[in-house]
Symmetry: C2
């Protein structure tokens, strides 16, 4: 990582979804770097927010409990900010199919309202938006680069696609500075492990830590995984370099691995663990995307960022965190 | 046109946006074909609905004035229907930039609610959705085919993109039968001519009919134009062939023409008229997409449809209609 983050010292930063998985890891880093940090989160039980995620930095970041759909609260919070990391979102694919309108409210309507508010009340702000590989749907070719057509396979993917494009548009037309990072599967300390709403890997980790068996659905699917500290680096790199220019970038993981091999690696790193290979459940199969892994040359070239955590090391650090703190995440 | 529309006799059809430009022309044809037709429209003043559009068929189609955001009304209306032509939408690019949330409500939220309602209360229904070339944004290459990346250049384009994909998704995942036609610039009798909210060509036609000068902005941009009767043919072809399979198709016009040449052709067909070439207004320039014309081989191959109206003939028919009825559209 050659990017210099010292420029963030004293910067006034707002993080939506700031008590969530990626948001809280980002917040911790921003605090270390000496930024002036405000975190917004509504602690919706099915989402990723968890007050324990900011344990130890409570007195160095301001936490504001509110929903990003609350335009009045957001207007107040964003008014004096220079940088917005927009990470608030509904992430569950299955929930988006069961309650598509709630997903639309969070992932489309609230995004549009936030951008409108920024345009009117914080026109000089820079925005980094957490987009997702999910918007590509089932890939036509691998690795997926940014020229790949978008073909979202669930309501969540469609709404995130629209949410991303509002950001691009407000950059291009309204003069806000915005960029979108299409994150791949991200994992690490402070992720949701209670269920698979953020990532199936959370459920695996929880099982291993509690000495229970976990299930591998299918197993042959290829994926790439991004350790959360690398993801935080990327968000900071996007905010502090020329990447904020209305463009969208893929992030890729350290390596490509099948889910079966990932299960093997997890058990190896954990020094033990059991899993069963199961057939894909029907309701998941309908929205499954097959193999996916990304090409992220564009982002690396533009910012100098690169993933620096080996998958095994990331798994080890994650296991260590949950071995110590699993009770806070159940 | 080799498609047989006789199968529509007696079919129970719902048309949203049924008092609008394309909806009402479709309704007139459906009534001629002997279909059982219900039209839904809320007559929002800035949109395309106009009661005069159904003059002469009032006693052969049921008109229900309601908003597609009204889920209860829609549930009642769709319950016994076999075919849904979903044409309700906000169409103005500029309005979508001024009031993005209203555009989102109509073009995203209402679409999702309608699909949810169909899934629950009319699961056997076939849906043809009127999508738009607008979702492509500024083309990378011409003519634009369906493999072209989507890069919408305004809020309307983003929301229509999401609206289209909800249809594709509900086909793929929830077993509804749906298809989307990405319409190009459509013109003809019953279009909005009061202002450019539907198409700039409406304003041109109005000026010519009233013997006033019209303005051509830029003039070098290439476009293709679809006469509304050809568009109606395409909608019917999509509904009565294998095209309803979760796919999306471009429609292209009869020919490619620059706006300057189109102005010349209009004046020629009208037997007179005046226009001025003007620079593009700044607020429009930001969301302009440059040249656009489509490739529609996929739809023609699948359905047997093809455009049969020459551009000049379409303009002549449109002029004749507004010469007789202009007072109803001011």
């Amino acid at each position: 990582m050659t990017v210099d983050f010292e420029s963030l010292r004293g910067r006034r930063v707002l993080v939506t979804g700031g008590l969530g998985f990626i948001g809280s890891n980002l917040a911790r880093r921003l605090v270390e770097l000496g930024a002036d940090v405000v975190l917004v989160d509504s602690l919706i039980p099915e989402y990723g927010g968890n007050l324990f995620n900011v344990a130890g930095i409570e007195d160095r970041a301001r936490v504001n409990i509110s929903d990003v759909r609350d335009v009045h609260a957001f207007r107040h919070l964003v008014r004096d900010r220079e940088l917005l990391f927009n990470l608030a979102g509904q992430t569950s694919h299955l929930d988006s199919m069961r309650d598509p309108v709630a997903d639309l409210e969070i992932n489309c309507a609230a995004q549009l309202n936030m951008l409108e508010t920024c345009r009117r009340h914080a026109p000089g702000i820079k925005i980094v938006f957490a987009s997702t590989r999910q918007i590509y749907g089932r890939p036509d070719y691998l690795p997926v680069d940014e020229k790949h057509i978008l073909r979202p396979a669930d309501v969540n993917g469609i709404n995130k696609m629209a949410g991303e494009w509002y950001h691009i548009l407000y950059n291009n037309v309204h003069g806000l500075k915005a960029t979108a990072l299409r994150l791949t599967n991200t994992f690490g300390p402070r992720m949701r492990v209670k269920d698979a709403r953020q990532t199936f890997l959370g459920v695996w980790i929880k099982a291993v830590v509690r000495d229970e068996p976990f299930e591998v659905w299918g197993g042959q699917q290829l994926r790439d995984f991004s350790y959360v500290e690398d993801c935080v680096d990327a968000l900071l790199a996007a905010a502090t370099t020329d990447a904020v220019d209305g463009r969208f970038y893929n992030l890729a993981g350290d390596r490509v691995i099948s889910l079966h091999d990932l299960a093997e690696l997890l058990v190896e790193v954990a020094g033990g663990g059991r899993y069963e290979i199961k057939a894909f459940p029907p309701e998941r199969k309908k929205i499954d995307i097959g193999d996916y892994y990304a090409e992220d040359t564009a982002f690396r070239t533009t910012t100098g960022w690169q993933a620096r955590t080996r998958l095994g090391d990331g798994l080890a650090a994650t296991l260590a965190f949950y071995r110590q703190n699993i009770d806070r995440y159940l």
